[in-house]
């Protein structure tokens, strides 16, 4: 039965092959943590089309600068990361909270589970937050994260990446992803990057060097646009 006309419009189903399947054997941790039963498709009720919203009050001054606030300048290559958050219909998503986290320039996370033998940087916590403006644009300053080894398989190394978490406007638009860097020679060998079947969808996870964002004599700029699910049609006015 189709949704009632006075019900909020549905978010479009994700396009085949552009999202990973839960089980991807080359990424070993998926083997015991992936559902084995098929998902049950739901029509989107008010429970799915609503969701938590986080306004500018959740971001403090300096949250979008990962190079400050820790008593000194972190070691590493300073970069500016910018982009727009859009929906599948190409509309900007304003006031969208983005949480980011990453390793330091040496490839080490400030985390008790990270035992990689690389130095911690006392001036880098690797955590930031930013909110999109009226045009869906965000920007933060950080240092380029290092590659690091992990134990997925013999001699496994993660490409350089930054983690992103977004809510969008609905429970149905929740997204956690990772941004990669252009030209990283580790990308073809990374089971996490390669769990996305469609090559173009994978490539959209790679930021672009961006001269417009690059600050002369200061920091290279990278552009990473993020697309959240969009609605099938606008609700009746």
């Amino acid at each position: 039965m189709p949704p009632r006309s006075d019900h909020p419009a549905q978010y479009r189903r994700l396009y085949w092959n552009t999202q990973p399947e839960y089980r991807f054997d080359p990424y070993a941790s998926t083997q015991l943590r992936s559902p084995s039963q098929p998902l049950i498709a739901l029509p989107q009720s008010l429970s799915e089309v609503t969701g938590p919203t986080f306004g500018p009050e959740f971001v403090r001054e300096g949250d979008n600068d990962l190079t400050v606030g820790n008593g000194g300048e972190p070691i590493g290559e300073r970069i500016l990361v910018t982009g727009r958050v859009l929906d599948e219909n190409g509309r900007a998503v304003p006031n969208a909270l983005i949480e980011v986290w990453q390793a330091n320039a040496a490839g080490r996370y400030v985390h008790k589970r990270d035992q990689h033998d690389a130095p911690l940087d006392p001036h880098f916590s690797g955590e930031g937050r930013v909110i999109t403006d009226a045009n869906g644009r965000y920007q933060f300053k950080t240092i380029k994260p290092g590659a690091y080894p992990w134990r997925n398989h013999h001699n496994a190394w993660r490409p350089q990446h930054i983690h992103f978490s977004l809510f969008g406007n609905a429970y149905a638009t929740r997204l956690v992803t990772q941004m990669y860097f252009p030209g990283d020679p580790l990308l073809p060998y990374d089971p996490i990057f390669n769990c996305v079947p469609d090559e173009k969808a994978r490539d959209r996870l790679i930021a672009a060097l961006d001269w417009e964002t690059t600050a002369p004599e200061y920091a290279l700029g990278y552009r990473f646009d993020i697309v959240l699910r969009g609605r099938d049609a606008t609700p009746m006015e």
């Binding site: 396009y15 999202q19 990424y27 992936s34 559902p35 429970s47 996490i192 969808a201 959209r204």
Partner: protein, 189 residues
């Protein structure tokens, strides 16, 4: 048309970036709701029954009147000051999680009929390339649960995975089994 960005795992170090919004007690800033507090606790386990010590659980729910704090919920029902309906906690070393909240009221389904009271749940962890989405229902709502449109889409022998167990006064127990016997029902929404 654009394509939605591909999901990627939160990885093992999610806590670095995702701790700031932690909220285990959804009533903490809503003193009016204190008399109605409930506790929901459970454990997340993997396909071998091992606890997931490095995950994160998020919940989203309506208030006791069945109203969501969201612009798309335009029904004439009161919001509760200080109650957002959002909670987030990391899983503990034994895979456990615990929320203090209130029981949500009924909200309509896509055809306008009341759904049984439920809490929306998302679970994230290393090894999940995209989060899993599920729902928790309440054991004392047998009649509403039997009539619920979403539960009716679930094979009868798996519905119990979505219904919490009573766990003493005003307290519920509800586990998330990622894979294998007793596997929790997850939704494509």
């Amino acid at each position: 048309m654009l394509y939605a960005t591909a999901s990627q795992t939160v990885g093992p170090y999610l806590h670095i970036g995702l701790t700031g919004l932690n909220c285990a007690d959804l009533t903490a800033d809503a003193p009016d709701l204190a008399p109605q507090r409930i506790v929901i606790e459970g454990r997340v386990t993997d396909g071998r029954g091992e606890p997931v010590p490095d995950g994160m659980v998020e919940i989203w729910q309506a208030n006791p009147a069945g109203r969501y704090r969201h612009a798309d919920d335009t029904r004439d029902l009161a919001l509760v000051p200080g109650f957002t309906g959002f909670g987030r906690v990391p899983t503990e070393a034994d895979g456990s999680f615990r929320f203090v909240t209130v029981k949500p009221g009924a909200v309509p389904d896509v055809e306008g009929r009341p759904q049984a009271p439920h809490i929306m749940v998302s679970v994230f962890m290393r090894g999940l390339v995209k989060h899993v989405a599920t729902r928790m229902y309440f054991p004392e709502e047998a009649t509403a649960n039997a009539a619920d449109g979403v539960l009716s889409l679930v094979p009868a022998d798996r519905r119990a995975t979505l219904v919490a167990q009573p766990n003493g006064q005003n307290s519920y127990r509800w586990d998330v089994v990622l894979q294998g016997p007793g596997e929790t029902v997850f939704f494509d929404i």
